[in-house]
């Protein structure tokens, strides 16, 4: 297990540097002068412009800028956004909101996905299975911003059950509608995964043995089938996390949720390069470490994985 952990951790290092360098390069290539954009229509003092450029290292070559940036990241300093606020402070303010949103979306969608996926697998080919498959296929196909608009229009505007936008009211209850829309995509993929892995487990020898021992379905399904079917869900966490990051950017934008995704989108529109890089970097670091955790956990759950080179 020790060498497996070491190998996986060493693999993370080039990915980390490569990804940050790639993002930083793309933002570095962005057209327009962000410092000049800061002043809008006003014509700033050239000396002030130069001072600001020097402050943000914008007068240095690309590699030096990246070096400054990455050194800061190691000290948890993600730079300063152009509005003068340290990015880490923006993150501290916005992250709890996104975390609430994500936890709610994941909890709702996983619970539904496991229950419906399990029943779908047990009643494979029956009406229930066919209907839930079609529904999940539609959920996979509807783009997240369409779901957001439809939910906003139906439940927010027409029925008035929820507030169409979140804004300051971003407690658990206020985030219900955005969380549901964010959860739709996750529900669809995890329900299909639960279904297929349960079908596979149901065909295994130990399940047949359990039944032939005389165990009831009420005991075989939760104890022998469900526990084993959930292992693929663990490995799929990375995919879920990816859906979540893109979904959060769109959902938070539409419902005006003051979270990380919304801030990232606003920053891109305003060409706030360091803010964009910081947020995408945070996303990528989080993604890399979630992946690492998932792999380690999977190695723990399935001994075969540890010994594969």
């Amino acid at each position: 297990m020790g060498s497996y952990i070491l190998r996986r951790v060493l693999q993370v290092i080039p990915v980390f540097f490569g990804a940050t360098l790639l993002i930083y390069f793309m933002v570095f290539a962005m057209p327009g002068d962000p410092i000049a954009a800061l002043f809008g229509d006003r014509v700033p003092n050239p000396a002030l412009l130069e001072a600001l450029r020097a402050q943000y290292h914008l007068d240095e070559p690309f590699v030096v800028q990246y070096f400054y940036y990455i050194m800061g990241v190691f000290q948890l300093d993600f730079g300063t956004s152009f509005s003068g606020q340290p990015v880490i402070e923006v993150l501290q303010r916005t992250f709890p909101v996104t975390l609430r949103l994500a936890v709610m979306a994941i909890a709702l969608s996983f619970l539904l996905a496991i229950v419906i996926g399990l029943f779908s697998a047990i009643f494979k080919g029956k009406l229930f299975d066919q209907v839930s498959l079609i529904v999940s296929l539609i959920f996979v196909s509807v783009p997240v911003f369409v779901i957001c608009f439809l939910a906003q229009y139906t439940f927010g505007v027409q029925l008035g059950w929820f507030s169409p936008t979140v804004g300051a009211d971003n407690g658990w209850l206020g985030l219900t509608l955005p969380a549901i829309t964010l959860g739709v995509g996750i529900y669809a993929t995890s329900m299909r995964l639960t279904r297929s892995s349960t079908i596979e487990t149901l065909g295994q020898d130990w399940v047949r043995t359990a039944y032939s021992k005389g165990l009831s379905r009420g005991r075989v399904v939760p104890v022998h089938v469900l526990r084993n079917s959930l292992i693929p869900m663990v490995t799929d966490t990375a995919t879920t996390f990816g859906i979540l990051m893109v979904g959060a950017t769109v959902t938070e934008g539409i419902f005006n949720v003051p979270g990380v995704g919304n801030t990232l989108y606003q920053a891109i529109l305003r060409h706030e390069a360091p803010t964009v890089v910081s947020f995408v970097t945070v996303f990528v670091i989080a993604y890399v470490f979630v992946n690492l955790l998932v792999d380690l956990l999977y190695g723990l759950l399935d001994p075969r994985i540890r010994y594969v080179k």
Binding site: Q11, P14, V15, G18, A19, L22, I23, M26, V27, A29, M30, P31, L137, I138, V140, S141, V142, P143, V144, F145, V146, F149, L150, Q152, Y153, V157, I199, E200, G203, G242, M245, V246, T249, V250, G253, L264, Y265, I268, L269, H271, V276, V280, F283, V284, Y287, V288, N291
Partner: protein
């Protein structure tokens, strides 16, 4: 004599009256292969024909939008009709600018399909090249290409495409958008191709081809790749659906195609403001988008089931 032909020492049960069944093989049957089996499986499925028909209609609309619309989506806009509901000649109502919603959807089909197709082509091409080179040549090249793939796999491609399209905001076109989407979505394909080429590489015919003197590169192109294509086609078909969503999402976020270009994403984006007064401006382009994605994903999943004998046996 017995020393030359020793009798076996172990006990062999006598075969008496036992009816031994050997797997029956029909000699007169036509030789089958993966693709023929898949076709036989697919043609029995109604959903396959429905999805295929829908895609055919889409291609027709994209190629000849003027045959299906009475109004011009740009010239026939009349502010007097702004946000008006459906009426004769305009079954889906009018946009805020007084344009016919149906003709804008029909003309937008072309943009969505072209971007989706180009992005998928670019992504698949990069993925196949990277994955097959890594797996076939192995060694340091495999390590290098796989790490590069990991890096691209780590960045969610919509977020990367947002950055790319912001960088290229002066050069917005179907092609740049396709490069932004395809250029960051190839890592998944590369992983699949790599695994598949590693599998095919072990085959006797590959060894035979190299032993007979064909160069390694030619062996890869002629013998390995064609046999590793099945999962690529599946992923590309599903990827076509997701690329169309990506285009719409980017256009919706305002970093896709310019507002003057007609695309479903732009229509939906512009309908945001009129969702209360004229919901049809939002709903019909959304339906077009969703059905298209649904058709491609369904086709891809049917193909996957048909091309995978294990999945076929499980049904």
């Amino acid at each position: 004599m017995s020393s030359n032909n020793p009798t076996p020492q172990h006990y062999v049960a006598p075969v008496k009256n036992a009816s031994v069944t050997v797997d029956a093989v029909r000699i007169d049957e036509k030789p089958s292969n993966l693709w023929l089996d898949a076709w036989r499986d697919l043609r029995r499925r109604p959903t396959f024909w429905v999805s295929l028909a829908f895609v055919a209609v889409l291609i027709f609309v994209a190629a000849f939008p003027w045959l299906l619309t009475q109004m011009n989506p740009i010239r026939d806009c009349n502010l007097a009709f702004s946000n008006q509901g459906p009426e004769a000649g305009s079954p889906l109502g009018f946009t805020r600018q007084g344009c016919d919603v149906w003709s804008r959807i029909a003309w937008g089909t072309r943009t969505s399909l072209i971007v989706g197709l180009l992005a998928t082509l670019i992504g698949t091409l990069i993925g196949v090249i990277m994955g097959s080179l890594a797996a076939f040549y192995g060694g340091w090249l495999d390590s290098l290409l796989s790490r590069v793939g990991d890096i691209f796999f780590t960045i969610p491609y919509i977020i990367a495409a947002i950055v790319v399209m912001t960088v290229l905001s002066d050069y917005r076109s179907e092609l740049t958008l396709a490069f932004a989407i395809g250029g960051f979505s190839w890592a998944g394909t590369a992983r699949i191709v790599r695994a598949e080429v590693l599998r095919v590489k072990q085959s006797d015919y590959v060894m035979a081809s190299i032993a007979l003197g064909l160069s390694r590169f030619k062996t890869l192109v002629v013998h390995v790749l064609p046999n590793a294509m099945a999962p690529v086609i599946v992923v590309a078909t599903i990827g076509l659906g997701t690329a169309i969503v990506a285009e719409a999402t980017l256009s919706f976020l305002g970093v896709g195609l310019g507002f003057t270009t007609m695309s479903w994403g732009n229509e939906i984006s512009q309908a945001q403001t009129t969702i209360r007064t004229a919901p049809w401006t939002l709903i019909y382009p959304s339906i077009a988008l969703t059905l298209t994605v649904l058709a491609f994903i369904t086709l891809g999943e049917l193909l996957r089931d048909a091309l995978d004998p294990k999945a076929r046996a499980q049904r």
